[in-house]
C-alpha cells in the first residue's frame, strides 16, 4: 500500500484512475516542457503507471497531491528515482490548477519529512531545469544549495539542488 500524508491543506496519496485526465492534460501542456513533455496520452499513461509502480519497485515514490477538502488532484510530488538517475530525487510538478498557492512547497516539505523521518534518509536532492524560474525559486525557499549538474541524454542538463540534511533540519 502506498502511504498517505496529510498536511494543513493537502493530502498526498496514491494515484488513482480518476486523476488520469488531469495528469494527461498536464503532460500535454506547455507546463510539462521542463519535465520531458509535452507528451501524448499514450505516453502520459505510461508515465502515470510508472509513477504508481515505482512504489512497489523501489519502496518509495511520488504521490498525487490533492486538495484536502475536495480531493481534486493538483500535482505530483515525491521521491522520483528512474534507473538512470543519480539517486532518488525529491521532485515536484504542479498542474495549472495547483499553481501559485504554495501547494508545491507544502507538499515538498511533507515529502522531505517522509524521506527523513520514515525512510531515515540522511539527505535528498532535487533536479531543476535552470530555465524553470518557478522551480528554482521553490528550491531556494526550501533551503536548497546548488551542487553541480546532472547531464541526461534526453532531459539535458539539470541542476542539482541539495536539500538541508535531516541533521541540519533538526538543529535549525
Amino acid at each position: 500500500m502506498i502511504p498517505t500524508l496529510t498536511t494543513e491543506r493537502l493530502v498526498l496519496r496514491a494515484p488513482k484512475l480518476s486523476d488520469f485526465d488531469r495528469y494527461a492534460e498536464f503532460r500535454a501542456s506547455e507546463r510539462a516542457r521542463f519535465v520531458g513533455g509535452p507528451n501524448n496520452r499514450a505516453q502520459a499513461w505510461q508515465q502515470f503507471a510508472a509513477l504508481a509502480g515505482q512504489w512497489m519497485v523501489r519502496g518509495y515514490g511520488r504521490w498525487i497531491v490533492a486538495h484536502g477538502a475536495t480531493d481534486a488532484p493538483l500535482g505530483v510530488v515525491g521521491l522520483h528515482h528512474p534507473e538512470d538517475w543519480p539517486g532518488a530525487e525529491l521532485a515536484w510538478s504542479l498542474f495549472a490548477a495547483g499553481e501559485g498557492q504554495g501547494f508545491a512547497e507544502e507538499a515538498a516539505i511533507a515529502a522531505r519529512e517522509f524521506a527523513y523521518g520514515s525512510l531515515h534518509w540522511p539527505g535528498v536532492f532535487s533536479l531543476v531545469d535552470p530555465a524553470n524560474a518557478r522551480s528554482l525559486s521553490l528550491a531556494t525557499r526550501l533551503g536548497c544549495q546548488p551542487d553541480g549538474v546532472f547531464q541526461h541524454p534526453v532531459f539535458g542538463d539539470m541542476h542539482i539542488w541539495r536539500h538541508p540534511t535531516a541533521r541540519e533540519l533538526r538543529t535549525t
Partner: protein, 180 residues
C-alpha cells in the same frame, strides 16, 4: 520500506501459481525485456536497463491505477517466475486486452502460457465481469498467434488497434459462455 500491491488475487492451476507482480520478479523479467525475444512486446536488444526497469514499474503501476493488471505465472512447486499473463488496459487502449509473455526460451513450448491465459481469462470473465477480450499481437509474431488460435481466438478485422501506425493482429477471445 516495502510497498506491495494489496488484496490481489492468486490463481492456481495444475502446474502454476498465478499472482500479481512483486519485487524480485525483475531478476527474470528484465533480462527478457532486454533480449531480442521481447521485441514483439516493447522491449528488445536495444532496450536499455532504464527502459526495462520503467516497464516493470508500469506493469506494477497498472494494478495500482486499474485495480487489476497482468499477473506473473510461476512454477507451482518452486515459485520460479515463468512469464506474464493477464489483463492489460492502458488509458489509450481501445478495449481491454489479455496479454502474455514467456520470459525464458527454455520455458517455451511447454504450454505454460496457454495454461496461465486460460485461468486468467476465466478470472476476468468470472471475477472482473468482462464480457469480451482481445489480444493485440504484433504482426509477424507467429508463436503468439499460434497460442491465440489454440485459445480459440479469431482475427477480428473490425477491432481497432492501440497504435494505428503499427501493424497488429487483433484476436478476439471466445466470450464468457464460450471459453470454459
Amino acid at each position: 520500506m516495502r510497498v506491495t500491491l494489496s488484496d490481489t488475487p492468486i490463481l492456481q492451476t495444475e502446474r502454476l501459481t498465478i499472482r500479481a507482480p512483486q519485487a524480485g520478479d525483475e531478476d527474470t523479467l528484465i533480462p527478457f525485456l532486454m533480449s531480442e525475444r521481447a521485441s514483439w512486446v516493447g522491449g528488445g536488444s536495444d532496450c536499455d536497463l532504464g527502459k526495462a526497469w520503467r516497464i516493470f514499474s508500469i506493469v506494477a503501476g497498472h494494478w495500482v491505477i486499474r485495480g487489476f493488471g497482468t499477473f506473473v505465472y510461476c512454477d507451482r512447486a518452486s515459485g520460479r517466475p515463468i512469464g506474464s499473463a493477464g489483463p492489460w488496459y492502458p488509458g489509450n487502449w481501445p478495449e481491454k486486452e489479455l496479454g502474455w509473455t514467456v520470459w525464458s526460451p527454455e520455458d517455451e513450448g511447454r504450454g505454460f502460457a496457454f495454461e496461465a491465459v486460460r485461468a486468467v481469462r476465466d478470472h476476468v470473465y468470472g471475477e472482473l465481469h468482462w464480457n469480451t477480450a482481445v489480444s493485440y499481437i504484433a504482426h509477424g509474431n507467429k508463436r503468439s498467434r499460434a497460442l491465440a488460435e489454440r485459445l480459440g481466438c479469431w482475427l477480428d478485422e473490425d477491432a481497432l488497434p492501440p497504435y494505428p501506425d503499427e501493424p497488429t493482429w487483433i484476436f478476439r477471445h471466445p466470450g464468457p459462455e464460450g471459453s470454459a
